[in-house]
Symmetry: C2
Subunit: 239 residues, 2 copies
DNA sequence: GCTAGTTTCAAACAAGCGTTTGAAACCCAA
DNA sequence: TTGGGTTTCAAACGCTTGTTTGAAACTAGC
């Protein structure tokens, strides 16, 4: 590992920017993977954007797949750690009373918001990349996400189960699945549906406002009464 | 267009299977695009699976992108037509009374369910493919989906606006966005989170049961009271 | 049976891919 | 200043990609 790692340093107008090759590759890869997807993004595109030699990507990360995982790990791991820590804090503060759905959801959302806010643009790019990674069919991506999320999901499922004691555990699992889905889909923010929905341009990229709208929606869904057999019959008999 | 289109005909054990080259390519492409994504699926993989010559794909569809659009159009266009027709039927039946959220949602879900149920496997494959296409970064896919969905989305936004007259139109647009997101994400059905959620295996691929769980969740979310300034402050001040 | 139009086929095309190589450049401790 | 480890670099590797080509095979009408 690098002694001569910090190599190129540029003094811009009012901030000192120094980035080693590894970080430059990660930053460029994050943006380009977000923009074009994993398969459609070539290492040549990444290394050109990062202004480093093509071979540097393989030298520092081994392979394209490992580079992709490194891009995800860099921000995903701290975010999920934050989520678990926050949940722990809330649970400690609540003593042995169950947390409300709103509090649990906010423990999920706040670390994502923090990511969306800090850093010049990297945080937002990453959240969009993450939303896309969820839907990516590549097995190595799916397995990677499974392992990265396993512990956090288990914690949140337990928390929601306590908050919604009248629901069967299975139903809680489903609703957690819906919550994760809506969150990742929304943060992925594909332009297609946004255009369709005719949002005000100023609001489209305001993640804070977005989550303030999404959270009450999801909290209400979590607390919804279960559909009984009659309801289900009424809903779908006409197919 | 083909006079000699129906060329290969195979009599299997109890059904007669006759498929022209074009359909064989579409079927194979649907399954492989679903499994590996657009970029990672090569024309050679598709044409080999379809047992046709490599050049046949370009001959019949022009390009790989046009083939992908043809795969989507074949089922998406009829499904969205169904959705609009069903909504029209409900509105006619209701006279000048506004529809409930449940009825509107069922008008969205029933055509998707119909697709998931009929056909040996193609319908389910297609829904998963569609869910993935939503998250695909390729511009031609996003533009294609925008154009395919524009009319239907406009109809449903109007219907939800009538059903939720107390909500600002903008809020209705957001919630419709959440509903579309949850639906597509859920139907895409990436294995990763399902494994995490520890679902009973028998239920994972039961789309009917899945939508029966999702619909009440979304209906409750649609009817949620709006978060006021105080709520929002309370939720997110601690970031 | 000939002809015209449609569809298939094997082969090749240029271009781009991820990865590897071996030498050059670089840095820092001795 | 020398030497050894780290990092960069240009070039090439073998392979796959989407697409094109021109001839062959096929179908149907006259």
């Amino acid at each position: 590992m690098a002694i001569a790692a910090i190599q190129k340093s540029v003094r811009s107008s009012d901030v000192i920017v120094e980035v080693d090759t590894k970080s430059r590759i990660l930053d460029a890869a994050e943006e380009l993977f977000m923009e074009h997807g994993f398969e459609a993004t070539s290492l040549r595109l990444i290394t050109t954007a990062a202004a480093v030699n093509l071979a540097a990507a393989n030298y520092h990360f081994g392979s394209k797949e490992e580079l992709f995982q490194a891009v995800l790990t860099r921000r995903l791991d701290p975010m999920n750690q934050d989520r678990m820590q926050l949940l722990t804090n809330y649970e400690t503060a609540a003593g042995n009373k169950a947390l409300t759905c709103e509090v649990i959801i906010s423990a999920m959302f706040i670390p994502a918001l923090k990511l969306a806010r800090d850093q010049s643009q990297g945080g937002k790019n990453f959240l969009r990349l993450l939303g896309r990674a969820y839907a990516d069919p590549a097995p190595f991506i799916r397995e990677f996400l499974s392992s990265q999320y396993a512990e956090m999901i288990a914690r949140y499922r337990a928390a929601f189960a306590r908050a919604l004691p009248h629901l069967p555990r299975e139903e809680v699992s489903w609703r957690l699945h819906f919550v994760m889905g809506a969150l990742s889909y929304t943060l992925a923010g594909t332009d297609a549906l946004k255009v369709i929905a005719q949002f005000h341009p100023a609001e489209v990229n305001n993640d804070e406002l977005l989550l303030k709208r999404l959270a009450p929606f999801l909290a209400a869904g979590l607390r919804a009464p279960m559909a009984n057999a009659t309801d289900a019959h009424q809903w779908f008999q006409e197919t």
